[in-house]
């Protein structure tokens, strides 16, 4: 029931890998059973008996036929494995991209994920939304993988194998999830102190839900007088150096875009649930949730933290 089980594929790349893995596992299991049986047989049959006569056994130096056989057969096994593997490499790495493909750019940061939908004009962070793909009329999502700093890796096991995000070396991957739901994963290439909490959440939605989400994400932040004080603190402390809120002066890109912060289930790239207590604690001191994260504690007093939290909680 693990949500990250590689043997529970829900998308074509993961499916192809799963099929290949069964073949490889079967061949390996057969070899294992054969050799272990031989080993056990040797150890039992040829052990020195208590009533041994003390003479050395017949010395056999080799056998050309036997050695040829046990070279040729492994070579044939390798050929079979190789051909099966080559086929899957080709189908996964060089797929046909129908015109209905959704384009996403994922940019890895220390220690969060930036997502841009260039065609749909959406910028968000940490929680990726994609439409479900019907195998009859596929709507896959193609993800361009870039990095703003060190190496990362995008790994959502049920959807695809992992592909690295390497600065100055654009990569890409694709998924076409067959069922709606939430798919989990995390960064799989050591990227620094908080590599462990750079979690992945992929929300696969029906086409209608996805379109609605896109529409909502496109809106700028709605102004509100109730939290004007909080907004003022946010905009005059260093928050806006790192964070952006569309429709306001905040346009920092070092940290996640916060325009629709409250549309997310988690904060800090999945490290904490997005509720009042954790949001407030994160703003007060990120070290208490994710020590080594690059967001500093801004040393705000309690009143200001309350105000800023209230402001952020209006960013739906």
């Amino acid at each position: 029931m693990s949500p990250t089980n590689i043997f529970a594929p829900a998308s074509t790349p993961a499916d192809s890998i799963f099929g290949l893995s069964l073949f490889v596992l079967a061949v390996s299991a057969a070899i294992f059973v054969l050799v272990v049986t031989l080993l056990a047989y040797c150890v039992i049959k040829f052990r020195k008996r208590p009533d041994d006569d003390g003479r050395e056994p017949p010395q056999v130096y080799g056998s050309n036929q036997v050695e040829l056989a046990w070279t040729v057969i492994p070579v044939l096994i390798v050929v079979a494995l190789f051909m099966a593997t080559a086929r899957v490499i080709a189908t996964v790495q060089n797929p046909a991209q129908p015109s209905s493909t959704i384009e996403v750019i994922a940019i890895g940061h220390q220690f969060w994920w930036e997502y841009r939908y260039p065609g749909l004009k959406v910028v968000t962070a940490n929680e990726l939304h994609v439409p479900v793909s019907d195998p009859a009329h596929p709507t896959p999502t193609h993800i361009e993988l870039l990095s703003a700093d060190t190496d990362h890796s995008f790994w959502v096991p049920r959807l695809a194998g992992k592909t690295d995000l390497i600065p100055n070396h654009p990569n890409s991957t694709w998924i076409d999830p067959h069922e709606t739901g939430l798919y989990l994963g995390q960064c799989a290439q050591y990227c620094g102190t908080q590599h462990a909490k750079m979690l992945l959440r992929v929300y696969v939605q029906s086409q209608e839900d996805f379109d609605r989400w896109i529409q909502q994400q496109r809106q700028p932040a709605q102004p509100s007088t109730v939290v004007a004080e909080g907004q003022h603190i946010f905009e005059t402390t260093a928050c806006i150096n790192c964070h952006a809120v569309a429709g306001t002066v905040a346009d920092g890109r070092f940290g996640p875009d916060l325009t629709h912060l409250m549309s997310r289930d988690t904060i800090a790239a999945g490290a904490a649930p997005n509720d009042h207590e954790h949001l407030r604690r994160w703003i007060e001191n990120p070290e208490t949730i994710k020590p080594g994260s690059l967001m500093p504690a801004m040393q705000l007093n309690d009143r200001d933290i309350d105000r800023v939290t209230a402001y952020l909680e209006t960013l739906r």
């Binding site: 590689i6 390996s28 790994w155 390497i166 050591y190």
Partner: protein
């Protein structure tokens, strides 16, 4: 110049002042003493590396544990990997090679004794430098401690921008220095084997251990240089304004990976081939039969040496190489499984029809066979690139390589310890303690490393200081940690055995195992000059010929 046998405390020459004895060891150029120093050095670091592993396993025993901070954890896995590969496995392989090679080929010492000593002290200094980082890495930035960039130190994490202070520099320099030591020893090994064999010992008549060390030495010469080059480039990036790996300025992170793995993959073969050598000496003696298929074993080893240089990018299947490149490396990696795998068949065929004695060295050799088989099969799974896109960089890989290094190499090493300890010390190890060691360690090994595959299959990446509950990883991590207890007990019993046997073990005599290679023809321990007279040989098993004059090997080889 002493012409005595090795001065062991407690032996007849204990009347010499301790300072003199210490000086003899520090200034020695004798291959046997240097071999022992390499081995003791490696054992000390084995314990240190083991403690680092224990810290990590305690931290991972349950999700969201807070035994250590992420910063400390990241230093732990960096130090653990670096220590185990460079300051345990390499020195111990060089140590056994140094000790055994001249004895097994009928020589009085290695080809270049002073280079030998220099190489040892360089390697030793490297280890000291790595650990000095804890004190010394705190530079101007006030940042820096032991390195925390992982043992393969990927760029650009190692650039000044992402690793300020000097921790990365300690990693770089300690390996740079010990790398020169490795090259020195490799030169010595190759020259000794090629030039100093006793009369009659053609290349086709030397023990398999000599062939395997020859191939290993050649590989060291080829593999260490790219690492050294990359480390120099990294230092240039960090301090001289270079941008080789500086991606912000157009440099390439992938190029570091290529340089590192062109070293890194042959490196693991450099470690396993001597393990094959130990197994190839132990299994024949304890099955009472000649090695089956000596020529093919030689050919397979040489082809592994060449093929190992062509597989490196199977560590890079996820970095976005083209499908053609990925396919090539799948082919080369699967190809190398053939010469490696058939060795298992040769060892089994050696046991077949024999009279197997289950002394401690053989127990470890049988464990090796079983575990190396499994490690090879998980290697085949990883060689299949799409499967690696799931399994790579996960705990499945961690389980795989520990299966090779601990289940394979360390088991073979334990076998080698029990087999050659009588030769080095003159005393037999306790069989009872040996059995306790074997069973405790076997249970611990399998608890830890069998079950470690499962979190990998369930999506757990490596190098994470903690993990989320609810992903199905919790119980497996608990079992994995429990295994560490048994392994530690096993190692404690082992160390106790070595010490106890030195003082209380049975006198071994020159040939306690009724074996067939030249090292068993001289006393235990050997005199400084190894042999009273340089032997002449007619076959691969000179002592078999002496013991069976009516049925000597040279009639059949």
């Amino acid at each position: 110049m002493s012409t005595d046998s090795i001065a062991w405390p407690g032996s007849e020459s204990h009347s010499r002042a301790f300072v003199d004895q210490l000086h003899e060891w520090i200034a020695t150029v004798d291959h046997k003493r240097l071999g022992i120093m390499y081995i003791v050095y490696a054992l000390v670091f084995l314990v240190i590396g083991g403690v680092e592993a224990m810290v990590m396993r305690i931290q991972l025993i349950r999700p969201h544990n807070d035994f250590v901070s992420p910063q400390v954890f990241n230093r732990m896995f960096t130090l653990h990997g670096t220590t185990m590969i460079f300051f345990v496995a390499m020195p111990i392989v060089f140590g056994f090679g140094n000790y055994l090679l001249p004895l097994m080929i009928g020589a009085r010492d290695m080809a270049f004794p002073r280079l030998n000593a220099f190489s040892f002290w360089l390697s030793a200094f490297g280890g000291f430098l790595l650990y000095f980082s804890v004190l010394g890495a705190n530079g101007l930035y006030g940042a820096g401690n032991a390195p925390d960039v992982g043992w393969f130190a990927y760029a650009p994490l190692t650039s000044l921008a992402f690793s300020p202070g000097h921790s990365t520099d300690y990693w770089t320099l300690s390996l740079l220095v010990s790398g020169f030591g490795s090259i020195g020893t490799a030169i010595n090994i190759v020259a000794t084997i090629l030039c100093m064999r006793c009369p009659g010992m053609t290349l086709g008549k030397m023990p398999l251990l000599a062939w395997m060390n020859l191939v290993m030495g050649g590989m060291v010469l080829l593999a260490v240089s790219p690492l050294t080059a990359a480390q120099i480039m990294l230092m240039i990036d960090r301090y001289l304004g270079g941008h080789f790996f500086d991606t912000q300025a157009g440099g390439s992170a992938v190029i570091w990976m290529h340089f590192f793995w062109i070293f890194g993959h042959p490196e693991v073969y450099i470690l396993i081939i001597p393990a094959f050598a130990f197994i190839s000496e132990i299994i024949p003696v304890f099955s009472r039969k000649a090695m089956f298929g000596y020529p093919i074993m030689v050919a397979a080893t040489i082809s592994i040496g060449f093929l190992a240089m062509s597989v490196w990018a199977h560590h890079m299947f996820t970095v976005g190489m083209s499908s053609n490149a990925n396919t090539f490396f799948v082919l080369s990696t699967m190809a190398i499984s053939v010469p490696t795998g058939i060795k298992i068949f040769n060892w089994l065929a050696t046991m077949w029809g024999g009279k197997i004695l289950f002394k401690t060295p053989m127990l470890f050799a049988i464990g090796f066979l079983f575990q190396f088989l499994i490690a090879g099969l998980t290697g085949i799974m990883l060689a299949s690139a799409p499967f690696d896109w799931q399994l790579g960089n996960s705990y499945f890989v961690v389980a795989h390589f520990h299966y090779v290094i601990v289940g394979g190499i360390l088991f073979a090493l334990f076998g080698a310890f029990y087999y050659w300890y009588p030769k080095m010390s003159g005393k037999m190890c306790s069989e009872t303690l040996g059995r306790w060691h074997f069973w405790l360690f076997l249970i611990g090994f399998h608890l830890t490393f069998d079950f470690m595959h499962i979190p990998g299959l369930l999506g757990m990446p490596r190098r994470i200081y903690t993990y989320e509950p609810g992903r199905g990883w919790d119980s497996w991590n608990l079992i994995v940690t429990v295994g560490v207890v048994f392994q530690s007990l096993g190692v404690l019993v082992f160390v106790y055995n070595l010490l106890w046997s030195y003082f209380r073990g049975e006198i071994a005599g020159s040939d306690p195992w009724d074996a067939w290679t030249l090292e068993w023809s001289t006393s235990s321990p050997p005199p400084a000059y190894n042999f009273v007279a340089i032997p002449a040989v007619l076959s691969r098993r000179p002592l078999w010929d002496l013991k069976h004059p009516d049925d000597p090997d040279w009639k059949y080889e």
